[in-house]
Symmetry: D2
Subunit: 322 residues, 4 copies
């Protein structure tokens, strides 16, 4: 877990939303200290700013562009689906919007596009043609991946929201779709709270992604596993957060950690909240570095002796008697 | 949805458990009326009965052997894992037990072995080596599949139980493992309550299985999605049950429907409860046959118009105004 | 279950939102057919319309005012709490807004105010002073109840949203708070999807409310118990919906059924979706009327014989063999 | 959080089950180190041992009797309910068994009886008469409380298991029932994993219990909130565990902490696992003591500033930068 000099942390810009638009959001993010990259939403954050202007804005605040995330909100018709919309015209509009997003990404100097296909799924039994929807998902992924092979495209899965059942709700199904699409620049972004909500163990999900595809992005936050709570990273599930960092080291993930948290919804000061994310994660990351090198822990894991491994982890994490 | 003259329904024999052992269980199952097949657990149900004797017992009661299901309970050491046990000796014992089960299956004249690898997973972060466990799962699946290529082997996934996180918790991950194992006689068994508990839509899960592997078994029951409730099929989620039957028709599943319900735990009379399963499912199946041919419903689904499809389904199912 | 000539159904007006404001929403709701009452949000729906004008608008469309529901969105400060806000000035603003809402309700000729205190709770451990927050909830309920004893005030509980843990998340805790507040005009509104999400059985929740307080409102919809899905009533859980209607008859609830569904989020036509709500519920209600008088069902319930009761219910509901 | 010289920790004896019966279980529990009290199940653990003999056995191992927990397993008829069984004879048997348990408790020198009424509830809609079942619960609680007013009786709630819907599933409903029963020697036992499973915040649940009744017992363990996982205390949710200890100090709970964990099901060595419980909880308890006295934390909580409180908690718990 050696520290690279690559950018390390980004945070959700909309938490800093104000009357002053994107420039204000970036200024406040830069003011956090420790935030050195940014993810922007497309097309929202490009309203009134061309890609070159966005790049200049980022540069002015010392922020590197980590990537873009598509938002399919511009047309009410997307409510019934983006890549899987039953109307071919709307579906085409979703794909074309994504391609324009990829162009903006390239122009702004970024490399990573994140897709969260939350509209693509069903709310009801007898609502969708599962075969057609799956085909449409796979072919759209293939098409947007082919648009610019220099750009990486990450699918960020989530069990539901807004659809009650997403077509790509969990790590396994997402990897099946990516494998079918068959493009080398496709991969996965893990969001910690989505992973909990999907009933998965974060480190295991990261392992499965690395085994079958590529881990392209990591969103940290925390929650209770019942919904996408958007809490401060490490505030509820520190042990699983530390284990995820150990696994990230093992699979060689060296990308940005994006704090996908919702201080705005919770009435918290977003700057103080972002600082809490950085402080907690820096600490848990350092602990992960130590635990990754702990031979006693490795031996306990090799025999699945959780009583022993919990003693070691709790000693390092909480100072419990080892 | 034409009716075949193949066996149609089996039920959980242990619900009929009594002092008289397997013969008594089979006698009571045969007494239900409508139950014409049986699934037995291995090795439990073979205690004191060789495969040939079991076959004769089934025949005496007019029951066809649908298949066997492995139970890894014979050694306490399996509590830490069967195919993924960190002790190579215990892991080997689990594989060998499965092979003996396959031999018993063949001798007794059945074709389908069901594997529920509930012990294979972790309870804690920092408990397991995910890479080694996944490798061990895939290689064990390949080995047992190779033991007798004439026999089908179905993985029945479940999110947890007894492990807090199963290695094969949902449809997507299970299909990834099966694909890696790469044997033509591997497939999936869907259990309705497990599917609900995994947060999946049953018909969609069946579709995904048929697309990427083979659907080898269907366990019906019902519940509330919070645990494996084991309730009477169709008692809580009739619409999703009907949709599953429509999908089973579409993918050509013509195997046995096994009622995996727990009247014994709930203090219900198991014969009356089994009759309720048959009565409800026969009715929901007939409704599914009608809906599969409904062109108005097909059109509503094609445009994802759930208001229209719910009107049609409710009219047919409850007699609501169409 | 005799039909009264009181208004029977209302639906969520915001599903009909358009550029034409409240008048347009009311026109479309009236156009559904079967919707004869309306619930309005305060202060949102009163923007630009005084209570008398709202009453006239309703009258023009043949809609009776069922009641108002408070919305604590007007000040960003409410994000950290309304009745439990740690800032006494903000807390006072929330109570005063509620009192103005009660005045508007009285002026518009309604009798029922619904409070959903979703902001009042915590997102984190170590975030709130539980004792102070509970005291503040109880005293605010008492104060708003005392504002106009002629008006009924219903607490609509929900496990979370936006707070991760609501102070009044379920039926039991809500009834404890209402009992402490000690006002005769306080009661409860049940929302079917909230009840499922709280892990409760709807008919049981209705019974507990009637036993310890008063059931003042019923919101119907459906979902999967994992979140507030807002689906068409009866589309997923018809048996529990029917059981709820039987219980409503038993406890003498004769108020409006409000369809709290989200066709707009799901891309459905809101008029068609509202018609589906009416059609399904009318049917399930008629079935409930029959089952309430079924002596065989009463006998099965008296001995907790669910196999027998499911046969009877399925025969009446789906036409299964009895 | 001054240390009393009262007994402090007990653990689940059945985790130590072996061929040597209760004496062996007690010997192994005493061997853990740090376990100085025991909870026994009635009637199971009294099979072959009278209360006086049990007391002597405990004494021999230096263990204080914390209390007994009723187990309604002796008659298959209890599967359909204990206090709420529809058969008056079975219901009477459940109450009488409880009274014998109370007599054994008194004879063995203990004071606390724990009731987990898991059988009392329903699996299906249309299965139970909710009014009759509630009445039966309340009157049985009153009757067993009156049997010996010197003994405390704690209700330990759990959302389900074995019934899909327990009559007393959460803190609020349990307190309503206890209030109706109206006996001074009734109270509540909180089980951390049950509380998580009920969707509650542990410290808040403890506060609500103390406000409306008495907190008589605390079961610690951990899990993921999806079921009763029975993991090592503090292994998953340390922050909520620490907050619970702060609240226990505030409300003056000075009773035994019982580790209700399942090493046996997970294939862990029960002695090592019990030592892990003691080590982690001792540490988290010490941290709770410090945080209870932290004026900065108190100030952050007073303004619901979770960013600030998480910084303080993480600094003390993980050593994160404050």
């Amino acid at each position: 877990m050696t520290r690279s000099n690559r950018p390390r942390y980004a945070c959700r810009l909309n938490a800093f939303r104000g009357a002053d638009g994107l420039p204000g959001m970036l200024a406040r993010a830069a003011d956090v200290g420790g935030i050195d990259a940014a993810d922007l939403n497309f097309p929202d954050h490009f309203a009134g700013h061309g890609p070159a202007e966005v790049a200049a804005l980022l540069d002015r605040h010392g922020l590197v562009l980590n990537g873009l995330a598509m938002r399919y909100y511009t047309e009410p018709a997307f409510r019934l689906g983006a890549f899987t919309n039953p109307d071919p015209v709307v579906r085409r509009a979703a794909i074309d919007l994504t391609r324009r997003g990829l162009d903006a990404l390239a122009e702004a100097g970024g490399r990573l596009m994140t897709l969260w296909m939350g509209q693509d799924g069903v709310d009801y039994p007898f609502q969708g043609d599962y075969g057609r929807m799956w085909d449409d998902t796979v072919s759209a992924l293939a098409e947007v991946a082919a648009h610019d092979p220099e750009l990486d495209i990450a699918v960020e899965y989530k069990p539901n929201d807004p659809r009650a059942f997403a077509l790509m709700p969990d790590v396994g199904t997402t990897l099946l779709a990516i494998r079918e699409a068959g493009a080398a620049n496709l991969g996965v972004t893990l969001d910690f709270a989505h992973v909990l909500y999907a009933g998965e163990m974060p480190a295991h999900a990261a392992h499965v992604v690395a085994r079958h595809s590529r881990l392209l992005g990591v969103h940290l936050n925390d929650g209770y596993g019942h919904r996408d709570d958007g809490l401060i990273a490490g505030s509820i599930h520190p042990v699983q957060t530390v284990e995820l960092f150990v696994e990230l080291g093992r699979i060689g993930y060296d990308g940005v950690i994006y704090f996908d948290t919702f201080p705005d919804l919770g009435g918290l000061d977003p700057v103080a909240e972002a600082r809490a994310n950085v402080a907690l994660v820096e600490r848990l990351r350092a602990i992960a570095g130590d635990l990754a090198a702990d031979v006693g822990l490795a031996a306990a894991i090799a025999r699945q002796d959780a009583a022993a491994s919990m003693r070691i982890v709790a000693a390092r994490l909480y100072g419990a008697a080892r």
